[in-house]
Amino acid sequence: MPTSSVLVVEDSEIDQVIAKYMFNKFDENLEVLQAFDGVEALDILKGTQPQPIFIFLDINMPRMNGHDFLKAYESSDLNSTSIVMLTSSCQPEEKDKCLAYNSVKRYLTKPLEIADLEGLFKTS
């Protein structure tokens, strides 16, 4: 049986550690892939089969930020995984902007809670 995975695109090491910890707690069989910016995320996605069930995406990142990643991702042939924004920005304009992307299904603000994951996996 292929392992299911999630990809966390997040440049803060602390946030990566915590996200991984939360996913492990939620489901220890879930593989957590880590990318520290959009460029790394695209690379990982190209080399991963099957594709992760969710991509958790931060907005503010060096090299390639969340918006640029979304544009690149949606215009690539990878475009199949639901994306969940995971960011500290709680501005409504930012939220609207993100939810306007077809691939973006949810907009979560940090910190990530177990309840968020439960809701997410239940409805998916």
Partner: protein
Amino acid sequence: MPTIPFNSSSPKINSKAHSSRLEAVLNTVIDGIITINNRGDIQSFNPSAERIFGYAPEEVIGKNVKMLMPEPYHKEHDGYLQNYFNTGDKQVIGKGREVEAQRKNGTIFSMELGVNEMSIAGETMFVGTIRDISDRKGAEQALLENQAKLQAIVDNTVDGLITINEVGKIEHYNKACEGIFGFTFAEVVGKNVKMLMPEPYYKEHDGYLQNYQNSGTKKIIGIGREVKGKRKNGTCFPLDLSVSEVHIHGRKLYSGIVRDISERKKSEDRIEQANAELEEFSYRTSHDLRSPLVSSIRLLDIVQEAIENNEKDHALMGIGRIQKSLNQLEELVKDILTLTLTKNEKEDYEAVNVDTVINDSLNKLKHMENYERLSIQLVPQFEQSLITKKNRFVLIVENLLSNAIKYQDVSNDSSFVKVTTYRQENKFILTVSDNGLGIPKSLQKQLFQMFKRFHPKTSFGSGLGLYMMKKSVDVLGGRIEFDDMDNLSTFKVTLPQSLE
């Protein structure tokens, strides 16, 4: 009431019946009727004359009529009669006119007087018909006073009052309007009121009027709303306008009250901005305070698990991360406190040595990471003292310098910061340039907003530094600008060099 028959001195009346009829008329007529002979002696005095003057007939019959007149008529009346007999020049005879008369009690009143000449048995007599018009005069006077009062109110009210006719031509325009619009009354009277409006009202106003008159559709009449006005100098401003329709002698007029609300709008905008900032502030502080705390709690779980599993290195790593999170928290709290202080602080102006402030600040920042790898170039050309609020000024200098240190490009072997001070047209100028990470063009317009971080991963900042600096520059009546020419990030602060 005893009356002297009108015909008492008219022996030539031939019909007794006629005479008594005439007497009845004279006794009941509302107007006072007095006859005098050619010397001015009163011959008859009817009941109404009694009522008007307060004299009984026997008090006046045979006396000169000038007793009923105040000065100057009293003195001049004999002359009038004389003049008439000499020249035939009729001053009052045959015409009605308004004159003043004097009652028995000395009070003077206005009356309408008609005088006719008649000849009885060859003797010239004059009949005076008198109507007391003091009530009417009083009403007229009251009306005039009222009008003057209203005019004074209209002239002195702070609101502008404009009246236009059916086709929009200005008929009235009070003094307040002159202040509000800059046009004098003479410049606007008779002109179309749209001259006081910017587009699109200018173009549309004739249409509004036309439309209202045709269809009764009220755009503004009776409603009142905020519109834009245009001053003589071309500037536009917000104004409150209420319009009512008035009908005067069958003419339809529109009367508008205008109030310049520029100041109110400005205050509203300031309050709105302050509110938005406050909202952002409370949201961000709660969010930013909470997030390192939540991280730390999560990290503690991780550390605990690591200890339980005897993974010492793992535990130590977790502790290091907790320290980092808590340091961020501490920095944020510190900045929030400074911000609160800066907002409230009332400070006096004093003479400040700019070079000393810069050197003290650098001294204080020496402990910062990578301070030593930064080349610091000072170009002090402002040689006098700066009259300013010292704490504010220090906050500006420290923030600019610490940003340059914090956001240096560690991959560049020749990182530098250049600080220059100089004087330009009575202004003090401070520039701080560095070849560090800079600020992305797309984010530069948010530069001085609260909680904006431009390099969140490089170094933790509260996002309040530039905001506090901007507020301080504002308080000092100065300006701060950012420029990023030739890979150099330059902040330029311009301050008045003394209290102006």
